[in-house]
Symmetry: C2
Subunit: 541 residues, 2 copies
């Protein structure tokens, strides 16, 4: 027997419809790629998104066709999103920090038919142009006046949607319909295509809106520094219209100065980004003796939150830090660091210790850790194992199957992360499965070593990798990028780790490099690092 | 093309699984029907709910079978819920405030096979016993020691689940499967059966968790005074385990003293009930000079919030009042009164004016007002019309079809309420369609007149009904129940309305009664009131 409730399909067009009808005059503020700040409303954005739909239909775009963007967070980018998704086409966000060859490879793999991009990215598109196999049309997200010279026959976005009808039917298809395509960062290998459905995006939106998740209300002002090409700006491009929160879009300028200006002038209450962006902001704030009186919550994820960033926000700026762990395959939120009940009145240091961990799963994310044979491991906060998960906004496969099988026989997705879970389901990432250092049959967490190493003031960045050892199989080597102008010694750095990690975890050596290689999302590229040290031999070997 | 995301069915057993795994030691505190206070945890409740499932299976209960409860909010009631729903049987909450004949009628209509009930309701069950046609077994929600004498052959709940296996598979059926059955209050006619699906309950849970909806987090302590037999305690019986909030269950005692004690001792942060309950509490607080330092949010709905209740909470007790409008058919939340952005810094009086309205719809509830021909009416805050709505947790039909067709050709459900909407979608109920007074072709809002009339200190309750008038078709009669020991005059009462309502809305007469008849959920029973005044003639007629 079925319930007798309405058949209301979970499609993302309803999110923007909701915003236009109920929060029509709430603003979307954009720092344009040209530098000036513009303002629109959900009502106006909704109408222009419908015009995008008409323009796409005129190009022959149909249900399931892929439309790509190479774009910053702006109101136009949002219009393009909803205009595409609303008619059941698939919005493919390409990460512009990839090499042009990779951009072309991804666009071809996705079989994108149209590419919309910001003027900033013209050089990438020109460089990749000869390799694109499926793109029929290039649209530059700007007005006619700002159109750059190009060899693509590109049209300006404003010209393209001008005069198009805003009367287009949205939705009206199954909620399982594909909605968005986003490739993983390619940190551990080739990027894999994650194909979101309307249903998964709407359910993730609901998850995002919870108090202990991102938790914004209609009166909030949200600045997603995290780009829309990183797994839907962690869901904010949906959750903000769904709640009626005002959106502040930072465009191309991630400098501390530019972000501070927006946070301050627009009275931003919630913001989200990866740690590296916050380092820039914090440096700017400290150098200029500035405060953040309006900001109440900063969400930090994508890689582990360094302690100095956590403390600066919490202690100097009195902003609540929500550490978040997620993956492209999780839409992306997996855990968040809202304080659990038993820590709300706990001493500050205990709270900070908790907030360095990755947090707890919201309803809609099932987490557990397993050993290599797939057996459940205890939630004791000590045992670490492969982190696997289930939920309505978690991948079941990659686009075209390229990335392999990802579910076990119980439907759990293998995250490729190694973690501990405690009795309250507080999760702590100890490593990537591919980065774990296996010494004498035991695991050493590269992330732990790195986190403590970067606590040294003379260290800008640090990475631990496993190096062959005749007796122990692998032993850790610590690679250090010194802070500008600094020359830390091996002993200095190792001293920093003393007493913080188990003695047998101590790296067998420290090597200094000018720059630790980073991937397209700012994470350490250990593949490349391992290549750099392919011929290296440990002094202990 | 479909997205490639996991097929994770939205079934409510996952809600309690989530609580047990991730918030296992959070408490559920119950004031037992016997008066003592007991404590359990989500983990223990989960295990006992599974034992209920085993007990039900032994009784031969299968997917789709109905299991009924006549019960207060207690941990046992929750166990019975999840134990029933987890195996795909349908939990039917019967309103114990109904007459025994109605209880029997509803149980027969639902074809309930098992009835679980609190000792308090034994007299009702005994009285209805001879009329029950389908109930095979009676279970009393208590221990063997507390079992009352009865002629039902009833078993004690604790005996019934004792030794039963907690190893039962939950879920594993389609999310459209029927999950709960709840009849409407019967204010305007016969109660109608609303059949919730697992999907609708889970989606409503997500809606409930939003900051501007009920918005609880894991650190909150929630006291649902609103009973589980009123549309799932407004969703709290799902939303609290979904977030890990501590639950405080008030059992049978709704007195100001009992509720205050729980609010205070358990440090409740969020609570919800109908206005009449809050009147009792406020009187008790004022008489005993008490404060509510922990409480931060009180949700009030089911009927319009009287101004004195709003002001007492907001001004004397500094608690944020969320006015809520809902219906059994909406699972039940439709609108909530979180302040919109433009009023957050507005003068207090403007905020109070807003909070007397019913609020705005969250994402997942589409609202509009239409005229009698179904044409959309403007959102100008003035025009009133029939309120219709759409959403994934809104009825498409009543159980067995008894209640008629409810959707229009666009899938909108007719609420039977008459309301205005403003440009921000702020909704204000002006009347029930059946209660609207039609004077000279124009509508007079009975609710408005009543709300102002009860503002008079000598008035305990007031109801406006339309009475036949030869010239105007109908004119309003105001029926007043004086406050204990008071004797207000007709002139006094009408003076109270002066300047607050349009002159032509002024009732043509005021009649005094000892008691205004109320229905099973404490709402004014206008059907009965109209019967009482069937022979009455207006002095102006
Ligand atoms: N708060 C965090 N702490 C530690 N690691 C994190 C955190 N948030 C995210 N990560 C890491 O980022 C990964 C997800 O990143 P993303 O989906 O962008 O691609 P990627 O895993 O870096 O790339 P690829 O899958 O292509 O190798 C997680 O699996 C985890 O390893
Ligand atoms: N905040 C509120 N202000 C005014 N009226 C409200 C409010 N909340 C609920 N109501 C009224 O309660 C109704 C829903 O109540 P419920 O589902 O319990 O059954 P009922 O409508 O009273 O009974 P029946 O449908 O059997 O006549 C709404 O349609 C509305 O008329
Ligand atoms: Mg990955
Ligand atoms: Mg009704």
């Amino acid at each position: 027997m079925h319930g007798l409730m309405q058949n209301w399909q979970l499609t993302v067009d309803k999110v923007l419809d909701h915003a236009a009808h109920n929060h029509g005059d709430r603003e979307i503020v954009t720092r344009e790629v040209e530098g000036n700040v513009t303002r629109t409303t959900y009502k106006a954005l909704h109408e222009r998104a419908k015009m995008v739909s008409s323009a796409l239909k005129e190009e022959g775009i149909k249900l399931g066709d892929r439309v790509a963007t190479l774009a910053w967070n702006t109101a136009r980018h949002m219009e393009a999103w909803y205009g595409t998704m609303g008619i059941g086409a698939v919005l493919h966000t390409i990460n512009p920090r990839l090499h042009p060859d990779q951009v072309a490879w991804i666009a071809n793999h996705a079989e994108d038919r149209i590419l919309l991009f910001d003027t900033t990215f013209l050089p990438i598109v020109e460089a990749a142009k000869s390799q694109f196999k499926t793109i029929e049309k290039f649209v530059i997200l700007t007005s006619r006046d700002n159109m750059p010279d190009n060899s693509l026959g590109a049209v300006s976005y404003e010209d393209w949607i001008k005069g198009k009808s805003p009367d287009v039917v949205w939705g009206d298809f199954d909620e399982q319909t594909a909605c968005g395509l986003c490739y993983t960062s390619g940190t551990t290998g080739n990027p894999k295509g994650v194909l979101y459905s309307h249903r998964s995006n709407v359910l993730h939106t609901f998850i995002t809106m919870g108090v202990d998740t991102l938790g914004m209300g209609a009166a909030d002002v949200v600045l997603p520094v995290v780009p829309m090409f990183h797994a839907n700006a962690w869901g904010l491009a949906f959750a903000c219209p769904a709640t009626g929160a005002k959106l502040v879009m930072p465009g191309a300028d991630m400098s501390g100065k530019a972000i501070y200006e927006l946070l301050d002038k627009e009275k931003v209450t919630i913001t989200a980004a990866v740690p590296t962006v916050w380092l820039l902001l914090l440096t700017y704030l400290q150098e200029n003796n500035l405060k953040l009186p309006h900001l109440r919550k900063v969400v930090i994820g994508g890689s582990a939150v360094p302690e100095r960033i956590l403390r600066a926000f919490e202690e100097e700026f009195e902003v609540d830090v929500f550490h978040a762990w997620g993956m492209t395959e999780l839409s992306p939120l997996g855990t968040l660091g809202a304080l659990p009940a038993h820590l709300v009145d706990a001493p500050h240091e205990q709270q900070m210790e908790y907030k360095l961990k990755q947090g707890r799963p919201p309803f809609g994310v099932e987490l557990k850790i397993v050993d290599d044979e797939g057996n459940d491991l205890p939630r004791d906060g000590e045992t670490s194992g492969r982190l696997v998960c289930r939920g309505p906004a978690i991948s079941s496969a990659y686009f075209k199957g390229d990335g392999g099988e990802v579910l076990d026989e119980n439907g759990f997705f293998d995250t490729g992360d190694v973690a501990t879970l405690d009795q309250h389901s507080t999760m702590q990432i100890t490593d990537r499965a591919k980065d774990v250092i296996k010494s004498g049959g035991e695991w050493i967490s590269s992330i732990d070593i790195e986190n403590f190493a970067v606590g040294h003031p003379q260290v800008a960045n640090a990475a631990a990798i496993g190096i062959y050892h005749p007796k122990w199989d692998e032993r850790p080597l610590l690679v250090v990028q010194p802070a500008p102008g600094e020359k830390p010694s091996k002993e200095d750095v190792l001293k920093q780790l003393e007493g913080k990690i188990a003695k047998w975890w101590t790296p067998d050596d420290v090597q200094f490099v000018d720059e630790i290689p980073l991937g397209a999302t700012g994470k350490i590229n250990k593949l490349k690092l391992r290549e750099m040290f392919a011929d290296y031999k440990l002094p202990t070997a």
